[in-house]
Symmetry: none
Subunit: 145 residues, 2 copies
DNA sequence: TTGCGTGCAAAGGTTTTGCATGGCA
DNA sequence: TGCCATGCAAAACCTTTGCACGCAA
């Protein structure tokens, strides 16, 4: 069962590796169209499934929505959490040291191993709650979709 | 906007309250058929959506599969967090000071207002992860289903 | 009587699959 | 040349929605 190196696969991998954080199958297909439609829907899903099995990408689902995939580079390996605004639907991608402390606490004191990729924290974002965007600063990378 | 008390709703609530742990919409529909098909698919989804908004049931997704719903027997479930084991399905109710610190941190440093009642933290419980149940103790109330 | 709740069917979006063709090694 | 990969279309799956009718209050 050899594996071939094809054009669609190379493109999909490239898109995944350049993506900020996670990306959905739909977005990958959209980006492919800009490159001249070099892979069909079925190929995208089949390739993603293969890459997931190989551990090259990580699959995560946010709520009931479509699955998202994240390329596992050294940098992207930082586990992160998701904040989802229940009003406007914004998804905030958050890597923050405090959340690692949370994981440690829950593990050490409550013997529960958090799966950050699967966990979504619901609430209201600054806009919808009418709060000043940045009352403070935290050593964290945030990315908003 | 008054609310009516109807037969389908009563049946759906009964099935939810008798379910061990979580139950999917599909399973609810299957059980309804045994009772003589007293509610349609659409009604099940509409009712579940309504109950979720009221905080009577909690919606949770395990992997890519269909959404599952779990009846919240205690009304005080708004003030604490829930840990859901993705392997055995156990739902752990957790009131812990650390989680209040988390809420404060996320609010002050990331301007996001967490809704603890709507948030479900996914991961593996001690049994499924093969970890000693209590390596430490925390000032917290835990309740397992 | 009022207007919410229901059922049916159709549509919606995401993901998978069958089958013939195309392309890497 | 031998297989694997691809494309297309259709299907599978879960969930939502439109619309007319039914029913609780």
């Amino acid at each position: 069962m050899r594996e071939y190196s094809t054009k669609p696969r190379a493109l999909i991998l490239e898109i995944l590796s350049k993506a900020q954080g996670h990306i959905s199958a739909k977005e990958i297909i959209a980006q492919l169209k800009n490159h001249g439609q070099a892979a069909s829907t079925a190929t995208v899903y089949r390739t993603l499934s293969m890459l997931e099995a190989q551990g090259v990408v990580k699959k995560m689902t946010v709520g009931t929505g479509p699955a998202c995939y994240q390329y596992m580079s050294e940098r992207a390996c930082q586990e992160h959490f998701h904040l989802k605004c229940t009003e406007c639907g914004a998804l905030i991608h958050l890597s923050c040291e405090f959340l690692h402390l949370l994981e440690n606490h829950i593990f050490e004191k409550h013997a529960f191993t958090i799966s950050s990729g699967k966990t979504v924290i619901y609430g209201k974002c600054a806009k919808c709650a009418g709060v000043d965007e940045k009352s403070g600063v935290c050593e964290a990378s945030e990315h908003r979709f």
